[in-house]
């Protein structure tokens, strides 16, 4: 399964023409299933933080009656982090360049998220 997901992540990076700098698939307990991240990004820390942000965003949606959380975007001055659920057993966390085309990245992420769900359903 890990190999399948790693290939999905490589494809996601290739399709976004440098907009996506790194990507990780994280289990619901905050551990990393697979990743392709820049060397300077601590994989474990990134995964745990992504899970906390997504969990908190879920709580905010619930408290506000905002419906289901679709994605969370952190817009930093040097980089963006985009997080979305990939089914009940995983989340997809992406690091994108500050000038990344978010619309295009989101579209590719949604596609990848569906693929991750399919791969996980097989195992």
């Amino acid at each position: 399964m890990k190999e399948d997901i790693e290939e999905l992540l490589r494809n996601l990076k290739e399709k976004t023409w440098g907009d996506i700098l790194g990507v990780a698939v994280v289990r619901p307990d905050g551990t990393v299933m697979a990743s392709a991240l820049p060397r300077e990004i601590g994989e474990k820390r990134f995964a745990a933080m992504a899970l906390v942000v997504l969990g908190t965003a879920n709580r905010v949606c619930d408290e506000l009656g905002a419906g289901n959380m679709v994605q969370a975007i952190i817009d930093g001055s040097k980089m963006k982090a985009i997080l979305m659920s990939a089914g009940e057993k995983a989340l997809l966390a992406v690091l994108a360049s500050k000038d990344a085309n978010v619309k295009s990245a989101l579209s590719e992420m949604k596609r990848a998220s569906t693929e991750v769900k399919k791969v996980m359903a097989k195992y």
């Binding site: 307990d29 899970l51 879920n58 709580r59």
Partner: protein, 161 residues
């Protein structure tokens, strides 16, 4: 007023929150019983609104301890009496001490184990001024007392400020 419930993994923080607020949390920031973001509830204490937060207990999420400690006016440190004092407990105790807020130590799961309160005090290296109270969040024993003592401490401090 913001109060944060700290404690190691599986100490019973979320259950404590539910028992203290007398509300079942509809959505928990958790996976298989482990809090992975935060839990939050509100309660009324003698006309004062208390915002009660819990932290994730796993060391993987230790960055959240500091995040949630920001702006807190009081803290509760939950010890799992079936496990005893751990390095994580000591680390969290040090963090709470460094914030200078009133806090209470709740020795939880007292229905399952009888951990000596003196040993808890000694293990954490805390002064005699910090209340150490046995609790069982599952049964409800001691939970109201913890809140009551914490509010007393907060009011005493307010009186001296």
């Amino acid at each position: 007023m913001k109060i944060v419930v700290f404690g190691a993994l599986n100490a019973g923080k979320t259950t404590f929150l539910e028992r203290a607020s007398k509300k079942k949390l509809s959505v928990k920031g958790s996976y298989e019983g482990m809090t992975t973001s935060l839990d939050f509830t509100r309660l009324d204490y003698n006309g004062e609104t208390v915002y009660l937060f819990t932290t994730p207990g796993h060391r993987r999420f230790d960055f959240m301890w500091e995040v949630l400690a920001n702006g807190m006016r009081g803290a509760i440190l939950l010890i799992d009496s079936t496990v005893g004092i751990t390095e994580v407990d000591r680390e969290i105790g040090g963090l709470i001490e460094s914030k200078g807020v009133p806090y209470v130590v709740a020795v939880n799961k007292s229905d399952l184990a009888n951990l000596s309160l003196d040993m808890v005090r000694e293990g954490l290296g805390i002064s005699a001024k910090v209340p150490v109270i046995p609790t069982s969040a599952i049964c409800g024993n001691g939970v109201d007392e913890v809140l009551h003592r914490l509010m007393e401490l907060k009011n005493e401090r307010r009186g001296t400020e």
